[in-house]
Amino acid sequence: MDLFLQTLLNGLLIGGVIATFSIAFQLTFGVLHVIDFAVGAWVVLGGYLAYYMAAFLGIDGFLVMPMAFVLFGAIGYLMGPMIYNVRNSRTARPELMALALTFGIFTLLRGGMLTVWGFNTHSVPTALSGHSIMIGPVTVPLIRVAAASFAVLIAGGLFFFLFRTRYGLAIRATAENRQNAALMGVNIRRLSANVYGLYAGITAMSGVLMGGIYSVNPEIGLRYTLFAFFVAVLAGLGSLGGALVAALLLGVIEAFVATYGGASYSHLAIFATLFLVLLVSPRGILRRGL
């Protein structure tokens, strides 16, 4: 029973971190209509930034988070127009070309990281690493609690921005109906660049958290891309609220399969679930997809 509670709690805490970048991923799809393969690469890059900052400058992992947001937000902002242009180009199949583009970005980043940093695995040291607290009968690593708290903060901030500010309203309007939003005076092109920057920044921040909990290496990016896809499929592409539920569910599924079935089955379980959900209910089990 203790093991059960422990697993459940671990799963929920990881699910919280998955939720942050999944929500940003969903937002990007809603605004840009692009499935971003590169999501996993942004997570890993955030982790690497934290690792190098800690290894060479001795800066604590959690303090790197604002830096990661600014740096990758800026990179994302610069890349946004490129993705927007491809998605709205006059080639025969822009949707397909945009998918290929983000796939290319992912492959380039993965290959570049492998070339520069090799296949070695690094962990991000933080002040909280190695400590744990007791909640009732279960032991919880403090880093996971902190990561989940930060994740909740980030997600909360994002939701506040989307639902309580004027610019958030513009973003939601664009996601709902691009043409109408443009008619209301929203500059879709600039907004798309901003959203992609916001998304890359948030994703890199959650990468710092993931790097603190697990370790970071270039090949792990595919796993996070899988997570984002899984959440997107379960929630329905573009659904924000559904993403939160689906991410927590994913964290719990992963934790339980890893604890009770063995780590080698966790990927099999996730992919199999993903595939079955797509077959049974292509618009997501929450039926909110676009």
């Binding site: 998918l99 583009l101 070339t115 080698s264 990927h267 099999l268 595939f275 292509p282």
Partner: protein, 332 residues
């Protein structure tokens, strides 16, 4: 009209010339380059099989390595001590198994549009890879060995025959028949194609199964050729990645594009392997190639030559004809 006829003959002549050189290659080059050529033919064929669904029907399959892997494992398992089936008999068995898989997987997933289809096929290939890693009859992570047959010429001609057949079949079915018109119609506008009375579900499934079966043939030959396979080497995502890049580079939905892209990229791969050894750098180049092609060359290399394409019908005309035609244009 006279120009078209001239281009057609010139194109045909070029094609025959290439085929003659390829047929004589085993006596012209040493074993190392023969191995490289064998690989180039395999990738040209695989890229063509991906292009059937991706280029002609407009469905991006991110899990095509699944079918390559099924073919490879069918041959590896059947040629093992338990069954001892002769090599040539394993190819049709692999094709049948692949076709069954493709029907079962394709029927539900082909209902999905665009990105959902890409994710579903990707998930399917990963499931198969993980499955091959955890079960016993595939040898698990350790992989599975085949009885070695060290005859480079045999494998060269096997790949050569498979590649020629693949391209002939593609030309016949997608460029020269009503079936090809149906496939292109559903790619360009699926509801309109349905309204014209085309059974799009059936046509999509036929295309999917065809492309899967072709990939499995190359998988069978590949397994016997390299004499050792493991889940990563035949189901790995890198295999699908390469096919996608080759087709994009050569030209999506053109007959000769995958051949151009496949051969070009495979030689780049070998060159990098010769000079640098590791493959990480190659992955980065793959990525950069995709980005550059998407941004600056959305119709691929074949699109360059087909720029002034107009009324002439076949891709043989447009691509090979323009290749010669543009040279003449440059001279005058």
């Amino acid at each position: 009209m006279a120009q078209t006829m001239k281009n057609r003959w010139a194109g045909l002549l070029l094609l025959v010339g290439i085929l003659v050189v390829l047929a004589l290659l085993p006596v012209l080059v040493n074993n190392y380059w023969l191995r490289v050529a064998t690989g180039a033919l395999m990738w040209a064929g695989l890229a063509c099989s991906w292009n059937m669904l991706g280029g002609y029907a407009g469905y991006i399959n991110f899990g095509h390595s699944a079918f390559f892997g099924i073919g490879a494992y069918a041959t590896a398992i059947l040629m093992g001590a338990d069954f001892a089936v002769p090599f040539l008999a394993t190819i049709p068995i692999g094709m049948i198994v692949t076709a069954l898989f493709a029907v079962v997987i394709g029927a539900p997933t082909l209902r999905l549009r665009g990105a959902y289809f890409a994710i579903a096929t990707w998930a399917f290939a990963e499931v198969l890879m993980q499955f091959a890693t955890v079960v016993d009859f595939t040898g698990g992570t350790g992989g599975i060995g085949l009885p070695p047959f060290l005859n480079e010429r045999f494998f060269y001609f096997a790949m050569f025959a498979a590649a020629v057949l693949t391209y002939f079949l593609t030309w016949l079915l997608f460029e020269r028949s009503r079936f090809g018109l149906k496939v292109k119609a559903l790619r360009d506008h699926e509801p309109a194609a349905e309204a014209m009375g085309i059974n799009t579900s059936l046509v999509k499934l036929q295309t999917f199964v065809l492309s899967a079966v072709v990939a499995s043939v190359f998988g069978s030959i590949f397994a016997y050729w390299v004499t050792f396979i493991n889940p990563k080497s035949v189901f790995g995502g890198d295999i699908t990645d390469q096919m996608v890049v080759m087709v994009l580079l050569g030209g999506l939905g053109s007959l000769w594009g995958p051949a151009i892209g496949g051969v070009a990229l495979f030689f780049v791969n070998r060159l990098i392997w010769m000079y640098y050894g590791d493959t990480a750098f190659y992955i980065a180049i793959l990525g950069a190639a995709i980005i550059l092609v998407v941004l600056f060359l959305p119709n691929g290399i074949a699109g360059l030559f087909a720029r002034r394409s107009g009324k002439s019908g076949s891709v043989l005309d447009t691509v090979l004809g323009r290749l010669l035609g543009s040279r003449q244009g440059g001279r005058s």
